[in-house]
Amino acid sequence: MKTKLIGLIVVLAAIAAAVIYVTVGRKTQVTALNGYVGGEKIGFLEDQEVQDILRKDYHLSLEYSKAGSLDMVAADKEGKDFLWPSSQTALEYYKSEVGKPVRSETVFNTPIVIYTRKAVSDALQKEGTVYVQDGIYYVDLAKLIKLVEDGTSWKSIGLPQLYGNVTVSSTDPVKSNSGNMFAGLLANTLAGGVATESNVDQYLPEIKQIFEKSGYMESSSADIFSEFLKMGIGSKPLVVGYESQLLEFSVEQPDIWKQVKDDIVMMYPVPTVWSSHVWIAMDDQAAGAVDALQDSTIQELAWKKHGFRTAVSGGSADNTAFPDIAVAPQVNQVGQMPNYKTMKKIIDALSR
């Protein structure tokens, strides 16, 4: 009888403890926001430090599904509070498809770069397409386009181990942002300035031809970058990506980075364009999240751990955070992306 009573008391005490735990726990209610995000920001969103600040200081948690920047605008948005694509173009696309968002704000910037391997950059340097200034690699985009258009074989520029002709691999410009921005960048380069609605038509066949040489294209910038790193020089010798991707990788995978760093080269195209990571809030809760993302600690984490330049500083960044990567402290020769109507012409031409 006595033991039974003790048992009952234990059970009651446990239930009381649970009730107290739950009531106290309720106090800091966290709002979970749901949205589509470009793959290149997943590392940032999965960052425990970032999550902790969002939860503790802003009572927010961000749930996401991965989608291409343009795909997400067209995707089923039911149950989603925000979109977080990687370009101004996606925002303009959203405005034309859906209307004005509740709020939109550029949270980070990162320039479009071209990744390659040492053997390839050496060959291109010898051949005059790539040059090095203050230890930073630059690639003359007009010259690179010429190599591609002429059907220059890898073999003829001293790389017989590579099959086929010089091509630049990007994600699908119709579906994903980095490829889309590369298409804009090609248009700018061919136009010798920012391509416009009135002059872009004459360059469309050329742009189309360049992309046709790519064949199957990935639809995620993260996937193509990871393929570039993992599959060796032969698979994708030149890959369009974001500067942030390599910077983040060096922090997240320091051991692997140490093994491959002498072989990986990040080249800044001349000219290049900014990828602007625009937060598109589709409801009031998501609109409030902008302030959280602009938190100074979060912005610092975004640069030092994930390689995103803050949108506030105008693009200059402290490159000492990445001592063993040739990071340009200031990205010059950054052009504007062609406007949405011009990009739409390009995308339409490439969709056919």
Partner: protein, 552 residues
């Protein structure tokens, strides 16, 4: 379950856990010893049909839909399952099936692991895949018996697809390859052929594969195929049992085949990396997000384990390359140079074409270019097939014989295909034949609809009839297969059948589909005899027929 939900709502997660703890201890006190362990999920070790394998024995499960080439990694997976008290359930399918299943709303797995990300991306129309990471890197290569490779002048030099084509056209080389419309290794090799034959092109365009001369050469090339298969792993197994000179497969499966061949005192294969048609399978393991956080955590744990340096090194020991820095010094000996392996080779693949072009190429393969198939179906019409059995059989036949349905699975017939039906009970009912014409195929279906199951079971007599039928054709022009579906034990005329089969010398593979109370021993005997395979159709007869259709 409703009670659990209510508890959760009321007390939150902590409360639910606590309540669960109380209930468990209460039931333990009451001494109701539980409902017996094991029990199993019903999918016990299926008879060589290559469906699910359960590794480990924990209460939590990770279900992975995977390409068959990963079966060799089961020991690595088992280690993890045992250590973490988990069950890892591996279900093996061809990459194209994985692609189609992934596109369905109902998806009964936590993760996908196809041979190449191209199928994962194409199938992920619902944007559910996340955390995809390449676990291994496998080039698709030619393995040719070493003496033959030497004879052909392929040893120690760079070989092109055209060199291989020349050998095939000269009648010096025949090979085995998986079906391009069912399996990644076959599809990749086939696209590599087109790339090389299309000549000076950066990437295959629609016009390339529509050119008459390209199609003629492809047909010629594919006519050199001795045996086909729906699965890369099974192709390897079949090869080791003998009868073929060369196969197209993953580098890792050629390595494992060579180990077995050498052990059996046989000649190993010499690996050729065709420089103008090489492809790489990146073996991505991706999580399929269906909103279960715990399952996601379990997945990430497994993935982290697989990508850890130690395990990556173990994976290399199976003949797989891994990411970033190539093959570790200590594992280079696995990639023997006397087998033609080049561990330090820069793998420079051709570019896969745009998805719409890939689809077009696969359709042309299935409906025009592949070696025509000559298929005899011996179908059980005994009394026990009445009702459910016959309904399922008709559903399966509807998928194969009605061409609009077959097309959805790239299983449509080509004009030169021959289909012969031999319905049987304790004797042969009749024989029905058709070419690949859609109307004629449909007529076969209509005929079957008019038959009524009745009588006893004797598949052997029906199969003898089937073999007899095949004698009317020049077998060198076809990929032949005899497919027998049965739901019961046959009268034991096996010995007599074996004698006739061996006398015939054609070596036609006999694939069987087990249904109802079929005798698995009888079917295994047939698979052994003819170097073929048993498919388990007891749970999904339609699926079994679709799978077997990918084997010739």
């Amino acid at each position: 379950m409703r009670k659990g939900k209510w508890v959760k709502k009321f007390f939150g997660r902590a409360g639910a856990l606590l309540m669960a703890a109380i209930l468990v201890s209460a039931s333990a006190l009451a001494g109701c010893g539980g409902s017996g362990s094991g029990g199993g999920s019903g999918s016990q070790e299926t008879v060589s049909s290559g469906r699910s394998t359960v590794l480990g024995s924990g209460s939590k499960k990770i279900r992975i839909l995977s390409g068959s080439e990963n079966r060799e990694l089961e020991p690595v997976l088992s280690q993890y399952a045992d250590k973490n008290h988990l069950q890892i359930e591996m279900t093996y399918e061809g990459s194209l099936d994985i692609m189609r299943d992934l596109g369905e709303k109902d998806f009964a797995y936590d993760a996908v692991w196809p041979a190449s990300s191209i199928w994962m991306n194409a199938g992920d129309s619902l944007h559910r895949v996340k955390h995809a990471q390449s676990i291994a890197i496998n080039p698709v290569v030619f393995g040719i018996r070493k003496s033959l490779a030497q004879e052909l002048g392929f040893v120690g030099k760079e070989v092109s697809v055209n060199d291989i084509l020349d050998a095939i056209m000269a009648g010096k080389l025949r090979f085995c390859m998986t079906s391009a419309t069912q399996s990644n290794s076959g599809a990749s090799a086939y696209l590599g052929f087109i790339q090389a034959l299309a000549g000076d092109t950066d990437v295959i365009q629609k016009e390339d594969v529509e050119k008459q001369e390209v199609q003629d050469k492809l047909r010629e090339l594919l006519s050199g195929i001795d045996r086909s298969s729906g699965s890369s792993e099974w192709l390897r197994d079949m090869f080791v049992k003998g009868g073929c000179d060369a196969m197209v497969n993953y580098e890792c499966l050629i390595i494992s085949a060579n180990k077995e061949l050498e052990q059996a005192g046989q000649e190993p294969l010499y690996v050729i990396y065709p420089y103008d048609g090489l492809s790489i399978a990146d073996s991505p393991l991706g999580y399929v997000d269906q909103g279960d956080k715990e399952s996601e955590e379990r997945f990430l744990g497994l993935q982290e384990y697989l990508l850890s340096p130690d395990v990556q090194s173990q994976i290399q020991k199976t003949g797989r390359r891994t990411a970033y820095t190539g093959i570790n010094e200590e594992n280079k000996s696995v990639f023997k140079s006397e087998w033609g392996l080049q561990p330090d080779r820069v793998l420079s693949p051709f570019k896969f074409p745009d998805w719409s072009v890939i689809e077009e190429c696969l359709n042309i393969y299935q409906s025009q270019l592949r070696k025509p198939s000559l298929t005899v179906y011996c179908l059980d019409y005994s009394g026990s097939m009445q009702g459910e059995g016959n309904e399922q059989l008709m559903k399966a036949m509807e998928q194969l014989l009605i061409q609009e349905n077959a097309e959805k699975y790239f299983l449509q017939a080509s004009a030169d295909d021959v289909t012969i039906l031999v319905p049987f009970d304790n004797s042969v009912r009749d024989v029905y034949r058709s070419d690949g014409d859609a109307q004629n195929m449909k007529a076969l279906y209509d005929t079957l609809q008019s038959l009524f199951p009745d009588g006893g079971t004797d598949m052997y007599t029906a199969m003898e009839q089937g073999l007899q039928e095949m004698k009317n054709y020049d077998l060198s022009k076809y990929n032949p297969a005899l497919i027998v579906m049965t739901d019961g034990q046959s009268q034991d005329y096996y010995d007599q059948f074996e004698e006739e089969y061996l006398q015939d010398k054609s070596g036609i593979p006999i694939f069987s589909i087990m249904y109802g109370d079929a005798d698995s021993q009888q079917l295994d005997q047939l698979a052994q005899l003819s170097n073929a395979r048993v498919f388990d159709g007891r749970e999904d007869l339609v699926g079994a027929f679709q799978k077997v259709r990918g084997y010739n």
